[in-house]
Amino acid sequence: MSRLGTLWVCLVFGFMYLPIAMIALFSVNASDVMAFPLTGVTGQWFAEILGDGRLGGGFLTTLAVAFPVALLTTLLGAAAALALTFYATRFRVLFAALLLLPFLVPRLILAVAQLILFKELGVSRSLLTVIAGQSVIILPFTTVIVASVLIRIDRRLIEAAADLGASGWCSFRRVVLPLMGNGLMAAWVIAFVLSSSEYVLTAFLSGRQQALSVLVASDFRFDLSPSLNALAVLIVLGNIALVVIAEAIRHRAGRLN
């Protein structure tokens, strides 16, 4: 069973990295057409991407959006999940329906409608409107993730905490919170991924600053430069490096304990 599982996991990870492998392959392929046969090795595309200040700026803009969005949606999602499960409000069903709404509306349409609203309110487009708009569509994801963890926490532990004198807040902080840690982490990562790859809303709601997803999409419209492959490779490698570093730190901390 375990061996079969390992095999399956390897296959699935292989599947997940198959397109990434292609991207990596063409990021060092000499031709600027993404097609076989391969024509030779070059570092040109990486040089190009590293020399392109515009994309660098876009990358920073993406981070400037994704970090607050991930934080905000994780917090709000956790609050919503708690209100759905652990500290259930009386209006739970209505509340759940409201939470699902942004899930169900096509992005573009929501973007247009939000734009109309911002216009009516006299709010001009900026990164703040992007953050607000994205947060709303990502919120249901984080809520679902956190709620699926909360559902399984043993309520008797909350009783025990109350018994020992912990107020609602304390028992939340010292019992519920640590036990929902996995869920919060997953929610944050998913929110970050969704935010940084969101194109439609970002394009509609952003003002003068352009996030990477928007820049990449417009670059793509005219020419599929392999330098974008190089960019993707850098992002993926950067992420993997972060994971490895975090693991190493965790390992060392574990050993010290």
């Binding site: 043993d154 008797r156 532990l157 009783e159 025990a160 905490a161 109350a162 018994d163 020992l164 004198g165 912990a166 107020s167 609602g168 304390c170 028992s171 010292r174 019992v175 640590p178 036990l179």
Partner: protein, 360 residues
């Protein structure tokens, strides 16, 4: 000075906990159906009763984890109804332990202390002391899932007692412990209760435990209280056949009261007439039972003939089951047991047995 004295006196006489006409249903299941109970300050009360009779439910309402169906709870003369669990000066040893899986044993025990007026630097030391009390100091750094069942139970115990609450609720706190450890813990509990002047409400299935610890025993049945009183009263003067049977497993011989006689009543049974003490208020002609405990029945050369049907080894002695007049009797017998099928003669001292009501 005068005021202080008065308060102290008031405190001594006013019950710590009063339970008045308490009810609780889960859907169509009536778990608690009208309980009146009052716990004197600094007393040790145990709750005995069969599985499912509502003990845990009662404790949970007192602790504040279950909404009251109807009735009133008063602590120290004040209504508890609106006080949330964390503000009640009560701690609980849960039947299911409910240890925090993400905290170490020590952190579990220290948890409650941060909500008491305990200096920060004393918290760990106090927690360690409590762990020592339950003989778990060596496992302070483990997680609950790395412990055996009995070890977990002892951590749950330490987690509650370390807070030294006014009222401690214990829901079968020693059920997973071996006899020796249980004895040790009983001594620690009793000592704690006396030393700190706490009040204990302790659910147990172990009658020896109840006898050894309690000032008062409350026998429950089907969501109600069947009898309460001092351990000796409950054992030697059960009010009903149910209590006589449930506590100490008396053999109950049905009969009819012929009238008052001597210090008790004359009663007519399948095994003849006897004059025996009994509960007050039995009228002539009333149906009642004669309660005979296994150690009150002796094998001898005289007495009612009976057939031995079964003999069970108990270490210190044997428990014989004998049938006489269609009625089953249990007899404690120290020597080598007669073989099943043998006929023996049973006798008892009429002054030491007891007449109880047939039903509540």
């Amino acid at each position: 000075m005068a005021v202080a004295a008065k308060t102290a006196a008031g405190r001594r006489t006013r019950p710590l906990l009063e339970v008045i006409a308490l009810h609780k249903s889960y859907g169509s299941v009536q778990a608690v159906r009208g309980i009146d109970l009052s716990l004197a300050n600094e007393s040790y009360v145990t709750l005995l009763g069969p599985s499912g009779c509502g003990k845990t439910t009662l404790l949970r309402m007192v602790g504040g984890f279950e909404a009251i169906g109807s009735g009133t709870l008063m602590l120290d003369g004040m209504r508890l109804d609106d006080l949330p669990a964390n503000r009640r000066p009560i701690n609980t040893v849960f039947q299911s332990y409910a240890l925090f899986p993400h905290l170490s044993v020590l952190e579990n025990v220290a948890f409650g202390l941060s909500y008491r007026a305990v200096p920060k630097d004393r918290i760990k030391a106090r927690a360690r002391e409590a762990l020592a009390t339950v003989r778990m100091e060596a496992m302070a750094d483990r997680r609950p899932r790395q412990l055996s069942g009995g070890q977990q139970q002892r951590v749950a115990l330490a987690r509650a007692i370390v807070n030294e609450p006014r009222l401690l609720l214990l829901d079968e706190p020693l059920s997973a412990l071996d006899r020796r450890m249980r004895k040790d813990m009983q001594i620690e509990l009793k000592d704690l209760q006396r030393r700190l002047g706490m009040t204990f409400l302790h659910v147990t299935h172990d009658q020896e435990e109840a006898f050894a610890l309690s000032d008062r025993i409350v026998v429950m049945r089907d969501g109600r209280i069947e009898q309460q009183g001092a351990p000796g009263d409950i054992y030697t003067r059960p009010a009903t056949a149910y209590v006589a049977d449930f506590i100490g497993g008396a053999s109950c011989l049905p009969g009819r009261i012929l009238g008052p006689a001597g210090k008790g009543y004359a009663i007519e049974t399948a095994l003849g007439r006897h004059v025996v003490p009994g509960v007050a208020g039995l009228s002539v002609g009333a149906r009642a039972v004669l309660c005979l405990r296994s150690e009150q029945v002796a094998l001898g050369d005289t007495g009612t003939p009976a057939e031995v049907t079964h003999a069970v080894y108990r270490g210190a002695d044997w428990l014989l089951e004998c049938v006489a007049g269609g009625q089953l009797f249990q007899v404690a017998h120290a020597g080598p047991p007669p073989a099943p099928g043998e006929t023996v003669r049973l006798s008892f001292d009429p002054d030491r047995v007891w007449i109880a009501r047939e039903a509540a």
